[in-house]
């Protein structure tokens, strides 16, 4: 084997990357050729120097720089923003379009979430404010009735007198029951103004406590379970029944109001 042939294999020989046969051939040649042996010795020494000399590490700041650039990539990915211009190529443009699409979708989703949130808040708050407004009206009407000489315009315990009295005075003919047997004596009836409308009010008396029961045609026909609340120490109960909205208010406790509600 000639030195020229060996030359290309010498590096692979040094790195132990030769096949068994090639390795043997080179070993054989090196035994007889001093020039090639010297080259190999020199190369091994230079390799050792390279390893020792160039064993540098990355500057300590590099890791931080990489971390920051990955942070930015995460942020951009999270906001769906096209990161940086990835040069040319059909695939690249396609993916850029994809990212734009992603951005549009993201904005649409955000807008939808905002809208739903606004509507839900409006709905809940609106209902709450509305209900709260009625409760205030109801309580005020009740308190006002107590300030009068008489809380009723038609004073009678006869339900058959009260009901015709409302006819022609209110758009709603209330169901009037005398509940004296159950401890709720009918005092009479009156017209009042609650929640921007004229409403019918029935007044019951339990022991020394007066109860105002307001009623008007309900917006929704379906019945609803009674909802209790207290306001300034007064008990309030509201429910829907047979197409009418009822509000009962009194200084009685809520349990007694519930009893009345069940009787009506």
């Amino acid at each position: 084997m000639q030195c020229d042939d060996i030359c290309d294999m010498l590096a692979a020989y040094q790195d132990d990357e030769l096949s068994r046969d090639q390795r043997q051939a080179v070993t054989l040649h090196l035994e007889s050729c001093r020039a090639c042996s010297e080259v190999l010795t020199d190369n091994r020494r230079i390799s050792g120097l390279v390893r020792r000399d160039a064993d540098m590490s990355a500057p300590p700041t590099l890791r931080g720089r990489i971390g920051k650039s990955l942070d930015r990539a995460d942020l951009e990915a999270a906001s769906g923003k096209s990161a940086d211009s990835w040069k040319v190529g059909r695939g690249t443009r396609f993916s850029a379009r994809g990212e734009t699409l992603g951005l549009a979708r993201w904005i649409a989703a955000l807008a939808a979430v905002c809208l739903v949130s606004i509507l839900a808040t409006w709905q809940v708050m609106g209902t709450a404010i509305h209900t709260d407004g009625i409760a205030r009206d109801v309580l005020n009407a009740h308190l006002r009735s107590l300030l009068q000489d008489s809380p009723v315009q038609v004073a009678t315990s006869d339900q058959h007198t009260v009901r015709p009295w409302f006819a022609g005075r209110s758009d709603f003919a209330p169901l009037v029951k005398d509940l004296s047997a159950d401890g709720f004596a009918l005092v009479g009836g009156r017209l009042d103004y609650v929640a921007d409308r004229r409403v019918s009010a029935l007044v019951y008396k339990r022991r020394l406590h007066l109860v105002n029961v307001f009623m008007w045609a309900a917006a929704a026909a379906n019945d609803s379970a009674p909802v209790a609340s207290t306001r300034n120490g007064y008990s309030l109960l509201t429910w829907n029944q047979n197409g009418a909205t009822y509000w009962a208010v009194s200084d009685l406790n809520l349990e007694e109001l519930r009893t009345l509600q069940r009787l009506l």
Partner: protein, 191 residues
Amino acid sequence: MKYPASPERARFEQLAIVHMDAAYRLAFAILRARPDAEDAVQDAYLRAYRALHQLEGTDIKPWLLTIVRNVCYRRLQQRRGAGNVISLDEVMESRSAVATDPGLTSHLPSPEQAAVSTSEQALLAEAIGALTPVFREVIVLRELEELSYREIADIIGAPVGTVMSRLARARADLRTRMLRLMDRDDCHAVR
């Protein structure tokens, strides 16, 4: 706004950060300028992170070094395109000019082994600097990263035979330059 590290981010850091030194050495081997090498590694890591889903298996090192290499060569091209590239031959000549300047080489080499060694290191750095990037990269991948010819072939995208001949050529070049430099410096020959 700070997002908690995603599982992907955690996986990438766990796999890739340990190879930062290797990435930096390869980048420096190709670019021969520390700030450029840092920029290239940062750029390569960002690209690798974005393309992490393309990684097959868990051996990230060859894949990562391939990306580092691509980024570096793109930078070399940009340098040439920008016209501010300094040809390696020019660098070599200017360095030789500096080295042969009597004002700078007038001090006698110290007889101590350490000093001789330092001198040798300086010559080696010069000889390595004079190689072209394609030879420097195989030297670095082989000598410093101790990768097999197969692994190097995958990274540089060439057959194993090419790796073999490039390494042979690179080592022969290095030896010739070292001998020439030592002869010029009237120093000990590499023995």
